[in-house]
């Protein structure tokens, strides 16, 4: 099999136990070349454990995993040569400067000095740390550390980049900047990215494909749009005067199944989605109903998560992880 033909990540029936706890419980993953694969789940779902197995930091209890065609157990050294890893909490030596860390990373990867200097310069520019590079990392903000962490992970121009909760604890601005950088390196360099996150928006914004993990098992997998579509039709909410509620309900029945709502509002699952909005408005108008407010909510990844697990993910991450 040629290097070009191998899947960046393949895992089959992967299990990792800690004593009695099955942190990763028989997951199958296939990530395609050039894909941003989002691994979404709440704290303790098994995301980081899976990443640690794929990055050779933990041995699997059973099952197999290959990264860039190399087995994570028997060819761990090869795996380490072709991956870039940015783990949770940006593990960076605060007593070194950004420049020194990049140089060290290059040396450890056996990158020739001149090429390393060129790559370091380029990476520092890309992550906007050229000016800060000569300063000790201990003086960097959380966002700057994350960006340096990303640059370090890219120093060896990896085939697969692992980002383990890269924006946890960052302020919204830093979070968006990091997203943009990840998108850019995927777009311009075709880097395959394996991203774990507990943020719905992050997965939605970045990932081409998402696997939702809960209690060590993958409970849903697919591209975000398809996953959301799988939950069902979007919810249409129409606010009307109390005396018109009955007729509004009767009119809207033709467009989808009624969903629970408060007094003065009619909610339905709009079959056919946004394309039928014009028909809805026309029908309500013909029935003489005065629309006070109308909104159409597409299913979110949180709905997908709730559908799969019976719990909500929305807000859980923010409640547990204070922003920087």
């Amino acid at each position: 099999m040629t290097r070009a033909a191998v899947q960046p990540i393949e895992a089959e029936a992967l299990v990792r136990c800690f004593d009695e706890i099955r942190a990763v419980d028989g997951i199958d993953i296939v990530v395609d070349k050039g894909e941003i694969f989002g691994f979404l789940g709440p704290n303790g779902a098994g995301k980081s454990t899976a990443v640690r197995v794929l990055t050779t930091l933990l041995k699997p209890t059973s099952g197999t995993a290959r990264v860039a065609g190399y087995d994570v157990e028997s060819q761990a050294d090869k795996v380490r040569e072709v991956i870039g890893v940015a783990l949770q909490d940006a593990a960076i030596d605060p007593l070194m400067t950004g420049k020194e860390l990049l140089r060290l990373q290059a040396t450890l990867h056996g990158i020739p000095r001149r090429l390393a200097a060129r790559r370091a310069k380029d990476l520092l520019e890309r992550v906007g740390l050229t000016e800060a590079a000569p300063r000790l990392v201990g003086q960097y903000s959380g966002g700057m550390r994350r960006r340096l962490d990303l640059a370090l992970a890219l120093m060896n121009e990896p085939d697969v980049l692992f980002l383990d909760e890269p924006t946890t604890g960052l302020d919204p601005m830093s979070r968006r900047n990091l997203w943009e950088e990840v998108r850019r390196l995927n777009r311009e360099y075709g880097t395959t990215v394996f991203l774990t996150t507990q943020y719905l928006e992050e997965a939605d914004q970045l990932a081409n494909r998402i696997a939702i993990i809960d209690h060590g098992k993958i409970v849903r997998e697919g591209d975000p749009a398809a996953l959301k579509k799988s939950v069902g039709s979007p919810t249409l909410r129409v606010d009307v005067a109390d005396e018109q509620q009955a007729i509004a309900e009767q009119t809207l029945q033709a467009f989808g199944e009624e969903r629970p709502s408060r007094v003065g509002r009619v909610s339905i699952g709009l079959e056919g989605g946004a394309e039928r909005m014009a028909d809805v408005v026309r029908a309500l108008d013909e029935a003489g109903i005065v629309i006070e407010h109308m909104e159409l909510d597409s299913p979110s990844l949180d709905d997908v998560f709730a559908d799969a697990t019976g719990r909500r993910l929305e807000g859980a991450a923010d409640a547990e992880e204070p922003a920087e």
């Binding site: 930091l57 593990a91 070194m96 040396t107 450890l108 990867h109 990158i111």
Partner: protein, 276 residues
């Protein structure tokens, strides 16, 4: 990014081979040395305290050199030269070895494990960082004490013995500290072990000749390997360079170094055992 840049990047996208152990160890020890010297709170005590103790002892115990049984024609400060080096190295090596614990705590250890770094290089890089400081300490102490009467009669070969002994001792103590750090992951645990090392030192000929000790204390001191090492090194200072005595100093410190390395290796291996 221009097309040219893109092509250049693409042409340069080669997976390089993992560099040899020596190159990685050198890179990691350079990092260790830099980090160590950037924390004055770690290295200043290893220089100031032994010198301070030497100043206090040599003035308060200067007449001890007149006691029968004390090495003849030797000032107390001269007697203390080796003790100052050993004390300083102990201070420095514990702090330096403990930096591995910091790496474990802040996640840098895992960053190294996920890179194509040979596992021994992670440990040796950390311990080798302590070698440079130990050699620096030995030379600094000799340089400071010499004008005040702490002459090394063994000359350059004698000083070389002291420097190599310091490096071996730094390996032993640094290895012990790194091993404890790897086992516990707690810097406090390593600091807690610090007084034990000094008790071991006090129960040796570091501050007084064993000929002048009596009872159980004297027996312990006479059989303390540190005494054999210190006496061998001290011979280079107060008498002159002697190959047999040098071999004794370097042999004992060398064995201690190997023990320290063995302990550190087993403990670090235990920590990364879970990793492939």
């Amino acid at each position: 990014m221009s097309v040219d840049d893109s092509l250049e990047t693409s042409a340069e996208h080669v997976h390089t081979a993992t560099p040899p152990l020596l190159v990685q160890t050198a890179a990691l020890s350079t990092r260790a040395i830099r980090g160590f010297f950037r924390q004055p709170q770690l290295w200043i005590p290893g220089i100031v305290f032994p010198l301070l103790l030497a100043a206090v002892n040599s003035s308060s115990l200067s007449r001890a050199s007149l006691i029968p049984g004390f090495p003849p024609d030797t000032s107390y400060l001269q007697f203390l030269v080796v003790s100052v080096i050993v004390q300083g190295v102990m201070f420095g090596a514990i702090a330096s070895g403990n930096e591995l614990t910091t790496d474990i705590q802040n996640g840098f250890f895992e960053r190294l494990l996920s890179a194509p770094v040979s596992r021994p290089a992670i440990l040796f890089g950390r311990i080798a960082g302590g070698w440079v400081f130990a050699a620096f300490q030995a030379l600094l102490f000799v340089g400071i004490l010499w004008p005040f009467g702490g002459t090394v009669r063994g000359g350059i070969p004698g000083v070389a013995v002291l420097v190599v002994m310091a490096v071996f001792l730094a390996t032993a103590i640094g290895g012990l500290a790194a091993g404890l750090g790897a086992r516990t992951g707690e810097p406090e645990a390593v600091q807690g072990f610090f007084p034990l090392v000094f008790i071991f030192l006090f129960m040796s000929s570091a501050f007084f000749p064993t000929a002048l000790m009596s009872g159980w204390y004297g027996t312990i001191a006479e059989n303390n390997p540190l005494t054999w090492m210190i006496d061998g090194a001290r011979y280079q200072v107060i008498v002159g360079f002697d190959l047999t005595e040098a071999a004794k100093a370097l042999g004992i410190s060398g064995v201690l170094a190997l023990l320290g390395l063995w302990f550190a290796t087993t403990q670090v291996r235990r920590r990364w055992r879970v990793a492939a």
